[in-house]
């Protein structure tokens, strides 16, 4: 029977089993479950949001259905929490073990493979089918936290160079401004550009699944592999669906993580048929415009300087009751 692992002895056994299997024991998680036989933990697995991890079965007990039971339990619990597709990162040599459980291989990069259960990527692409333009098209992926004149400049420049531009707004709720506010600022700030379509990235680009370290900003070395998976997934699955042949990106003088991401983009995308076009950032009052600069101003309540950095539409939102509530709360924490 699969049970939750809660006591300190359970956790100790879980850590041992996970580490014996060559994985690392990595909190945090939402669920940690396992199977005991004769008081000995023989199988373990954890779920963090939509990602399943630390799946391990004791060597002496492999070949049976223990893994299936653990995965069933984690997916059942995750589904109750509202997730309908689930991801596993694993060594490519183990991918078939999960394909037997109806996981689909999304992308594999030599060192690491990403698999999905629940067919979410296909369902996501099918939902966007009515928005597909014949092309050749371009793409920008941006968080827009909040939407600035820098984003506006990048989008204008990019849209002028392609038939149609897809602007993917990062879906993940890890930023100061919630997704629906960011999406609204983008829509209002780009409404006059006829050949721009705004989409959400779902879990499939710059999300906590494909690129968790984007949200940490500390240049974590383990992020490298996942950065690759994020880009390979974009080039192999997303770009072909939308007839995207160019990905536009702003040059990155400030954030180390984003600079590394841009660098990986130049290395990985062109061989897969997606050209990378890096555009110089727009300047204002002495340095480049960035969303973090805007957030710093908000933090110091220097709202009079905002007009130089954000379009009128964003400014109106930031100064509205709803906008104020978000950043004033952010300032306090």
């Amino acid at each position: 029977m699969v049970t939750s692992l809660l006591s300190s002895d359970d956790l100790r056994q879980a850590r041992t089993l996970v580490e014996e299997s060559g994985l690392s024991f990595e909190p945090p998680y939402d669920d940690l479950v396992g199977i005991f036989q004769s008081r000995q933990l023989v199988a373990v697995g954890a779920r963090q949001g939509r990602v399943l991890k630390m799946l391990a079965v004791a060597r002496s007990h492999q070949g049976g259905s223990l893994l299936d039971e653990v995965v069933t339990e984690l997916i059942g619990r995750g589904f109750q929490q509202g997730a309908d597709s689930f991801f596993i990162f694993t060594n490519p040599s183990h991918a078939t073990n999960f394909e037997r459980l109806n996981f689909n291989l999304l992308v594999s990069s030599g060192k690491s493979a990403l698999l999905e259960y629940g067919d979410g990527l296909r369902r996501y692409l099918a939902r966007q089918q009515p928005l597909v333009q014949p092309g050749p098209n371009g793409a920008v992926v941006a968080n827009c936290n909040p939407f600035t004149l820098g984003h506006r400049y990048l989008i204008e420049q990019a849209a002028a160079r392609v038939e149609h531009l897809y602007l993917f707004v990062v879906r993940e709720e890890k930023s100061l401004f919630p997704f629906d506010c960011r999406y609204r600022m983008v829509r209002e700030g780009t409404g006059d550009l006829k050949n721009v379509t705004i989409l959400d990235t779902s879990s499939y680009a710059v999300s906590s699944v494909t690129f968790p370290t984007y949200f940490l900003k500390d240049g974590d070395p383990g992020g490298e592999v996942q950065m690759e998976l994020d880009l390979l997934l974009f080039a192999n699955r997303i770009a072909p669906h939308f007839n995207i042949i160019t990905r536009f990106v702003g040059s990155e003088p400030l954030s180390k993580t984003t600079a590394a991401y841009n660098c990986a983009m130049h290395r990985l995308l062109p061989p897969l048929g997606v050209e990378v076009c890096e555009l110089e950032r727009k300047d204002a009052i002495g340095s480049v415009i960035s969303a973090s600069r805007v957030r710093n101003l908000l933090c110091r309540k220097e709202v009079e300087k905002l007009a130089e950095l954000v379009p009128q539409t964003t400014l109106e939102f930031l100064l509205s009751g709803e906008g104020r509530k978000i950043w004033e709360k952010g300032v306090r924490t």
């Binding site: 259905s65 037997r100 109806n102």
Partner: protein, 87 residues
């Protein structure tokens, strides 16, 4: 009958299947199976038969199968339907 909540039934073990039901305005059925090539059509026919018997005309039905026999498909789907339609 009407699917009024999100439910799941079944397991991921061999010879079994997982069934997920969700409310929706139209009926969509997706089937993934390790034996889809050989038995996809038969699985689909069984699923349609059970849905029709319970007069399920709308909802998202997702099935991931690992070679379940038809009575297992019927049992898992019936369980999911009774969970999804009870108030």
């Amino acid at each position: 009958m009407k699917i009024i909540k999100k439910v799941q039934a079944g397991t991921m073990q061999s010879s079994d299947l997982m069934v997920f039901l969700e409310p929706a305005d139209t009926l969509t059925v997706t089937i993934e199976s390790t034996v889809l090539k050989q038995f996809g059509a038969l699985i689909r026919a069984k699923v349609d038969e059970v849905l029709a018997r319970h007069a399920i005309e709308a909802g998202v039905v997702r099935i991931t199968d690992r070679g379940a026999l038809d009575y297992a498909i019927e049992a898992r789907l019936e369980t999911a339907i009774s969970r999804a339609t009870e108030a």
